[in-house]
């Protein structure tokens, strides 16, 4: 509630004030790289100029995005969200089933422990051999890698549903689907969202691996290509872009989480 007081201007100024060290760091970086003239480390101004040239000098009708930007980011984002959403659906469904049934959980626990301990990048060569080069193998990598935090958090959340909430639902005659949608799912939602957010940042990491290793396009591929071609401003541009992307995805998801889980924050503050 406090977020809304004070108008929009004050927080903006305050957050700019917080950023002074970032500005100083960038300034020092600029000076050092200019004086050192080391080819691996182009100055930030050169990186920004290159990013602008590559991706953000397009027509206004395309939000200034160039064709290059669309062909670099478009497929990458599609893979990222596709894989993440598929993992979300599978992970939440399986997680609720396992969370509701201690018996099922006993049977599957060792497999889950093993599955989440496998470093997902090791499976990239396998997926490349088993599936088609490109998107299918990349999707498989992302889904396999990010499903674990979603699954485990959902199991945790489902197990943590208050027994009295479940009994209330049974006594007041909720049907099975009402119990799932109106009681279990909302109660487990804070945990599920925590898992989904973790999975989103993990998905970006796996996207990069999958694209570097077996891709023919996308920002990860672009990164490797720039490095191999000694186009260092391009390479740094990709790195900065990936950082920005990670930051934006996380912030956007936090915003969504705040909206959906407003009740949770409220309930936590009063109890």
């Amino acid at each position: 509630m406090n977020l809304r007081s004070g108008g929009p201007v004050v927080p903006v100024i305050r957050s700019l004030g917080r950023l002074w060290l970032v500005a100083v760091t960038i300034a020092i970086w600029e000076i050092v790289t200019r004086t050192a003239e080391q080819p691996f480390f182009p100055p930030p101004s050169a990186i920004l100029a290159r990013m602008h040239e590559l991706w953000f000098s397009g027509p206004a009708s395309h939000l200034l995005l160039t064709d290059q930007a669309l062909s670099d980011f478009g497929p990458s984002l599609a893979r990222l969200f596709g894989g993440w959403l598929a993992a979300a659906v599978l992970g939440v469904l399986a997680g609720i089933a396992i969370g509701c049934s201690p018996r099922l959980s006993d049977y599957l626990d060792p497999l889950i422990d093993l599955g989440r301990a496998v470093p997902p990048p090791l499976l990239v060569p396998f997926f490349l051999a088993l599936l088609k080069l490109g998107t299918p193998a990349q999707l498989a990598t992302i889904v396999f890698g990010v499903i674990w935090p979603i699954l485990l958090n959902t199991v945790d959340g489902t197990r943590g549903v208050d027994r009295q909430h479940l009994e209330t639902a049974r006594i007041f005659g909720f049907s099975a689907s009402q119990r799932l949608w109106q009681v279990i799912l909302p109660a487990a939602m804070p945990k599920i969202f925590a898992g989904l957010r973790l999975a989103l940042s993990l998905a970006l990491i796996l996207l990069v691996i999958a694209e570097i290793f077996g891709g023919s396009g996308g920002i990860g591929y672009q990164l490797l290509w720039a490095q191999r071609s000694y186009l260092f401003p391009d390479m740094w541009g990709c790195l900065v872009m990936l950082g920005l992307l990670g930051y934006l995805l996380n912030s956007a998801f936090l915003l969504l989480e705040r909206r959906v889980l407003a009740w949770h924050r409220g309930a936590r503050q009063t109890n």
């Binding site: 009295q164 909430h165 209330t168 007041f172 109106q182 009681v183 109660a187 309930a267 503050q269």
Partner: protein, 259 residues
């Protein structure tokens, strides 16, 4: 309405209910009082179908309880764990009604009426955590009222609120239940309360629970927090229930003789 005969229940080798028999007639408010940990909650959970008792029978409206009955509502002590924090007060009250065959609009109307009855006509859009404890417990009472159950179970319903709110809620329950002709079984460890709200008081013994006494409360229909508690009949009953709860062997007749 409700008839319990020789109810027995054990958790492992630990016996909690040792042949409890009692009955509740239609439109009656029966309070069950007993020392803490005597098995009151197990009794209530058996009636609600949440616990399958080891022996004995429970008949609700002539039918044995083999699963959760569909014409029963409950008000728990811990409202924060019983109301759903992700729903508004209105949704908490209205959602169970959808199962009663009411469409969206009609169930909202019924929920609105129930909220109005408990004095929360304006609070329908609020979330439980935006309300005080007393208001939250009013919402759970409204949910039970709107559901129009054949039997309403109340498990220490006023145990988690302050004294003033407690008196308000006691009167609220008395008022709306008289108005709707509701049948209620109320469980409490508070001796005063059991006498003040009950048409009858059933006293349970220390664990394993048995019925120590079944006392008619001759206080009439309308009660007042101050005047009723000063009546001789109230004082006498309170003393008797108190002695029974503490495990004394005095019966109703010996108390009368002492008078």
């Amino acid at each position: 309405m409700l008839k319990i005969t020789d109810l027995v229940h054990s958790y492992g080798s630990h016996r909690v209910l040792d042949g409890v028999s009692l009955s509740v007639a239609e439109g009656e408010l029966v309070s069950v009082v007993g020392p803490s940990g005597c098995g009151k909650s197990t009794l209530l959970r058996s009636i609600a179908g949440l616990v399958r008792p080891s022996g004995g029978s429970i008949l609700l409206g002539g039918r044995p309880i083999d699963r959760i009955p569909d014409n029963l509502a409950i008000v728990f002590q811990d409202y924060s764990r019983s109301l759903f924090p992700w729903m508004t007060a209105m949704s908490n009250v209205a959602l169970p009604l959808r199962r009663r065959g009411l469409d969206r609009r009609r169930s909202r109307e019924a929920a609105m009426a129930a909220l109005d009855q408990v004095g929360l006509a304006d609070a329908g859009g609020k979330y439980p955590w935006e309300m005080s404890g007393g208001m939250q417990q009013r919402v759970s009472i409204a949910r039970a009222l709107a559901y129009r159950p054949a039997l309403l179970l109340m498990d220490e319903p006023f145990g988690s609120v302050d004294a003033q709110t407690r008196e308000d809620l006691e009167d609220l329950v008395l008022r709306v239940c008289a108005h709707q002709g509701m049948t209620i079984l109320l469980i409490t460890h508070d001796i005063d309360e059991s006498v003040y709200v009950g048409d009858r008081v059933i006293v349970l013994t220390r664990s394993p629970a048995r019925v120590a006494a079944d006392l008619e409360v001759g206080l009439g229909g309308s009660r007042d927090q101050i005047a009723t508690r000063q009546l001789d009949e109230f004082v006498r009953l309170r003393a008797e229930v108190g002695r029974l709860v503490r495990g004394g062997s005095t019966t109703a007749t010996t108390v009368l003789e002492q008078h």
